[in-house]
């Protein structure tokens, strides 16, 4: 259970960076750390003690394989999640660059003070 708590602590650190910092790039870094923690938690749930990866080889016994391998379903969902995280990051960086071009600063308190 300790390892779940450590993973949750990583999640809370990403959330802290997202809320309490004022620089736009720091907020983006906080969101990246948040995504790492979520993907790690999903893979930690599906782990089996002394397990092998869910890939079959040529002369493997099917019954022994299904008793010994780790859970393949969270891995498929996490693969989707990682690639979607990349797409969201690209969109966030392009919005941040547009804001920098218009307001000449990355500081969110300055941006919310100037009214366009």
């Amino acid at each position: 259970m300790t390892i779940y708590l450590m993973c949750f602590f990583l999640f809370l650190m990403g959330l802290y960076c997202l809320i309490a910092k004022k620089h736009l790039i720091k907020k983006i870094i906080g969101l990246v750390i948040l995504e790492y923690a979520i993907n790690l938690f999903l893979i930690l749930i599906g782990y089996r003690e002394g397990g092998i990866p869910p890939i079959l080889f040529k002369d493997m016994d099917q019954l022994a394989f299904s008793q010994q391998s780790v859970d393949p379903l969270p891995q498929a969902l996490v693969l989707t999640s990682i690639v979607i995280g990349l797409g969201v990051l690209i969109m966030m960086v392009s919005i941040a660059l547009r804001l920098y071009e218009k307001y000449k600063t990355f500081d969110t308190s300055e941006i919310s003070r100037l009214k366009g």
Binding site: L44, I84, G87
Partner: protein, 182 residues
Amino acid sequence: MLIFYMLLGIMILGSIVAIETRNLLSSVISVGIVGYILSILFLMLGAPDIAITQVVVEILVLVVLIRATISADNTAIEKHRDTFAVVASLVFLGLFFVFASYAFLEMPQFGESLLQTSQHYLDNGLAETGASNMVTAILLDYRAYDTLGEATVIFVSILGAIVLLRRTGRKRGCKSKEGTGK
């Protein structure tokens, strides 16, 4: 098992460095270190598919973030910190941690997975689909609809990023358009 705790500890230290340091380039590199250690952790948890994807996506994230911070041309943050926001968020997150740890007590032990749906996939995967990589069989045969949704999300987000990064807006049509997209 001890190696998992050690790697997670290094990840937590690396993300503390990434959050608190004042130089933007150092914090981007620390996020890169956290990502690489995460892919080693994925490999030890029995997920080689995810480890390959994590390494390659991590490299792209690093290159894109460094491109964004260097183009801004100031790599230091100089403003004062906002103490009220820091203290309020620390108090709130501490309470969140205390109350959520009660929920973690209900979870099964680390190392005994439940495997109720996946037992069917593991037993009959090779016979029904013919693929020997179970993760690809789930992604593209049993749950192919989710992969169609993911392909749509990637398509739309990259389309949005290309539209946002165009050189001329719609109002100022008189700027030169050399090399912009058709």
